[in-house]
Amino acid sequence: MVMKHRLLLGLLMVPLASACSLQPVQPWQRGHLARPEMAWEPDPLLAAYRRHVQFSKEAATGGPVLGGGGCGCN
């Protein structure tokens, strides 16, 4: 279990570690970042639907997402 925790932490640290050598990205270098598939949620309609299903079947919820009320889901 401890090993699994360390693996998860390690995966998360890779992008953070690379932040140490940040070079400013100029506006004209951001073409790839602006592509639709690079969005946090490229398909918001589907993402909202999947969140609703997960919310009704699992105990954990939460994240940087605006909106959404409760439901009487069983």
Partner: protein, 395 residues
């Protein structure tokens, strides 16, 4: 890349997904429709108290979104209509060997849910360069449940910096009026529940192909948090008691997201992780991995994999010997220790201003997928398949 609210993303990226839609000026109306058929696998005979397999839920969902971009503002309207039928887990008995077996709700449940959500986003660059604001207001209605919700968010991207700051809050006020079993002494007539959340996030552009985001969320729930349709079994008296949970719940979630574009493959890699902990002593980990592959001819293929794990609520048990000293009791599988794996495959194609897509997802919850050891697996853990079809178009 600026990290914006989900609402803004809903409006701007859905629009960008269609060729020629991101106009420099004027108004643009974008509409999206999603149909989903969600079907849970039957409860196997070996896990059923009746000794025979029992069908579970089937849900048909229709989601319609319209968004209008005018100058610096976006307005959105979401309509959600779903119909639900089937049976749900009721309580759990021990069999002759003490193995937990599930009792399902007797009569077939038939329900509808209708939800409407309005959203608004606007650039506030006249106040401060790089500032934008979003707000939502929603209402959801079921036969036995009403929910009124709202929220607001601010995003700030300082000029010439690699960072974007986001902060927001949401609030929901819900009313339960159970219809099934209303004459039973264990079912309440009416109850209230309130939920609120606060979150703050920071996104970094690490390079021309890499962006990451970290965020912290606080969630608070108060009021009636039990399930009026579930019971718990007491072996000493061979009787059932009402599902009874604390009337408050506080949770924290830490989320990390990575988006990496791979020019050679013409694909984007998505990696999301969430750690969750609440004062019901539930701790959870979620990892989501997706690959967005752009193919010739305006096709896109998206395989994805999700792993989820949670520990149990401190008052949960599949069944009890006698009532707990604090009076709490719940055998709900959603409060049990389990893990879940789901795989999804989606395909879409653009036809001029139209986009057609389809996807299939299979989800399986099992004690064996959990991070820690699980002594007794809840027999009501769910397994489902979801099929979805979607159409997007512009006017």
């Amino acid at each position: 890349m600026r990290a914006r609210s989900a609402t803004l993303l809903a409006l701007s990226q859905a629009a960008l997904a269609l060729p020629g839609l991101a106009t420099a000026d004027g108004e643009t109306l974008q509409t999206d429709y999603l149909y989903s058929r969600y079907e849970e696998a039957s409860l196997p005979a070996a896990r059923s108290a009746s000794g025979s397999a029992s069908p579970r839920f089937r849900i048909d969902t229709h989601l319609l979104r319209a968004s209008l971009a005018v100058d610096d503002s976006n307005f959105g309207l979401d309509l959600n209509y779903e119909t639900l039928s089937g049976a749900s887990p009721w309580f759990i008995l021990p069999d002759a060997e003490g193995r937990p077996v599930q009792v399902m709700s007797g009569a077939s449940i038939q329900e509808q849910r209708t939800a409407l959500q309005a959203s608004w986003n606007r650039s506030l660059q006249t106040l401060l360069d790089g500032l934008d604001a979003s707000a939502t207001l929603g209402y959801s209605s079921e036969d036995d449940y009403r929910s009124l919700s709202g929220g607001a968010e601010l995003g700030f991207s300082p000029e010439g910096r690699q960072l974007t700051y986001t902060a927001g809050f949401s609030y929901s006020s819900d009313t339960l009026q159970p219809t099934r079993g209303a004459s039973s002494p264990t079912v309440i007539a009416s109850a209230q529940k309130r939920s609120h959340s606060l979150y703050g996030g920071l996104a970094w552009v690490l390079g021309p192909e890499t962006v990451v985001q970290a965020s912290l969320s606080y969630l608070g729930n108060s009021g009636y948090l039990s399930d009026p349709y579930k019971l718990a079994y007491l072996t000493d008296t061979a009787s059932t008691t009402a599902d009874e949970r604390p009337d408050g719940r506080v949770a924290w979630a830490l989320t990390g997201r990575l988006r990496q574009f791979l020019p050679r493959a013409n694909a984007a890699l998505h990696l999301d992780y969430r750690w969750y902990r609440d004062d019901w002593k539930i701790e959870s980990h979620t990892v989501d991995l997706a690959w967005y592959q752009t193919l010739p001819g305006d096709w896109q293929l998206v395989p994805s994999l999700r792993w989820y794990s949670q520990s149990q609520a401190y008052f949960y048990a599949p069944y009890y010997r006698r009532e707990r000293a604090d009076g709490f009791a719940s055998s709900d599988y959603r409060l049990s220790p389990f893990g879940a794996l789901s795989g999804r495959l989606a395909v879409s194609k653009r036809f001029g201003g139209w986009l057609l897509g389809a996807g299939v997802e299979h989800y399986q919850a099992k004690a064996g997928y959990a991070l820690g050891e699980v002594e007794l697996e809840n027999p009501g853990l769910v397994q489902f398949t979801s099929l979805d079809l979607r159409v997007s178009w512009q006017f």
